[in-house]
């Protein structure tokens, strides 16, 4: 148990909806090792974001345990929790909604450095420039408002913010879904590169199995809040065992029909 970076055991969360409740997560168990990418795939509403929000302690589970870096993660509260948050970060799907609309790029990156006392005030501008360079952005961007940079640039800023505290795990909730192919390819390369150099582990949430297959080591497929299957990413996607896995693979849009001779 203790060797894994993150161990999740029996995690469960129900939401009230009207008079009934929905089980958004039920008996979820998985683990992630350092420098590893576990993908969380599954249909819309299957509970992927719920698992992410549970891990990040944005909502509290009804049952289950989470061990992160050898600590009982769910027992942390208040100031100790805030301190430990440095080690687990998140990148959201919609980079525009994920930043304060009034913030500038510099302020977005200044927050983690200030809160976790990573650098004294005088040194922070240099650190911010360093972070921007690390994610392949020009340092001129620091003074811009977050809504004045393009979608791809904004997602790079989000990654820069996530790596500012030197985390060991980053949860990527559909972090590249909204980006077009060329930008998406570059962001994925950046993430893979960060993993190689800094040993960061990812929980990569995506509904796109094509993406999961190229980016993740292992995949866990969720359906209706439960784990349907789990295993090596390529093995699972090339030959899914569960019904939902098969359905997801079958429904993935393909170009073959058109690039070949015969189109429908």
């Amino acid at each position: 148990m203790a060797e894994h970076l993150l161990t999740v055991d029996g995690l469960a969360k129900r939401f009230r909806r009207g008079d009934s409740t929905v089980a958004a997560a039920e008996a979820i168990s998985f683990h992630i090792d350092a420098a590893e990418t576990l993908a969380l795939a599954g249909p819309s509403g299957s509970g992927k974001s719920t698992v992410a929000r549970l891990l990040l302690r944005l909502i509290e589970p009804d049952a289950g345990s989470v061990t992160f870096e050898g600590e009982n993660w769910l027992a942390l509260e208040g100031a100790p929790l805030r301190t430990h948050r440095a080690k687990m970060q998140m990148v959201f799907q919609d980079p525009l909604a994920a930043f304060n609309p009034r913030a500038t790029v510099a302020r977005v990156l200044d927050d983690p450095l200030r809160i976790h006392r990573i650098a004294p005030r005088a040194e922070r501008p240099r650190r911010i420039a360093g972070l921007l360079e690390r994610v392949g952005l020009s340092t001129d961007l620091a003074g811009r408002a977050v809504h004045e940079v393009s979608g791809g640039q904004r997602q790079r800023v989000a990654i820069a913010r996530a790596i500012a505290t030197k985390p060991s795990l980053i949860v990527l909730d559909e972090a590249v879904s909204a980006l077009d192919v060329s930008v998406r390819g570059k962001i994925l390369e950046l993430l893979a590169d960060l993993q190689r150099t800094d040993g960061i582990a990812y929980l990569f949430i995506s509904h796109d199995l094509g993406l999961v297959r190229v980016f993740a080591h292992r995949v866990a497929i969720l359906d209706g809040g439960r784990l349907a299957e789990q295993g090596d990413a390529r093995a699972v996607i090339d030959a899914p065992q569960s019904a939902v896995g098969k359905a997801l693979v079958a429904a993935t849009p393909k170009l073959h029909g058109f690039t070949g001779q015969d189109a429908s």
């Binding site: 909806r17 009934s20 819309s44 799907q93 525009l96 559909e174 192919v181 060329s182 994925l188 429904a251």
Partner: protein, 268 residues
Amino acid sequence: MSAAPQVPLVALRGLTVAYGDDALALSAIDLDIRAGERLALIGESGSGKSTLALAVAGLLPASAKSAGTIVWGGAPPLGGRDIGFVFQNPAGSLDPVMAVGRQVAEVARTHLGLSWTDALARARDLFGRVGLPDPDTLVHAYPHQLSGGQKQRVTIAAAIAARPKLLIADEATSALDTIVQAEIVALIRRLVAEDGMTLLFVSHDIALAAELADRIAVLRNGKLLELGSTRQVIGRPQDPYTQSLVVAHISLDSPPLFAATTDIPVNG
């Protein structure tokens, strides 16, 4: 593809749009949208797809300056009723403090003149059609209680609530899983076929565009690079840029990235 009428629903001639003093977001676009067709607009981020979609719907922000003409085949459309618009950012187009069912019913009520009860019933029906689970309780949910894909389906329901002639979907399915995406694609197909709706489908997913559209228009840097039938554009792309888009597509047989020593996914 064959039976499209000759009079276009809307004809863009020399459409040019600029925001502030920046470079042109669209330059001299000539494009016909035929009544009853499914036209896909593809291109990289910042190529002007949303700008074109907004221009057709008459929704450009005040800061945008435009030139050229947009001529409608029939009577000029009434925004909201004749044009349904699914915005790129689903969270931003929903009111966070109003139940989602009410938001959809509101559209049906104002444009179809339904009573509140009928409008709510229509909202429930639409929720079922866009594949939302348990429509009877979901109509009472607030946006933050829905998953990303569920919110996106609500915005699609709102866009088709008034039975528009033209449905403009700006990245409408980018947050949806492939199963729901396939359902939505089937729903949109049915709407186009049954209700005679015309579709302008904006996407950066070339494979999805290929599955849904009769014709594909490729934009880059605000210019229309290529326009043709889906088979032509995907099967025999003329422009080198379109060719690179077809090649860069990440599919189920692209080689994995983590094992690679060089930058792969773009050249799979």
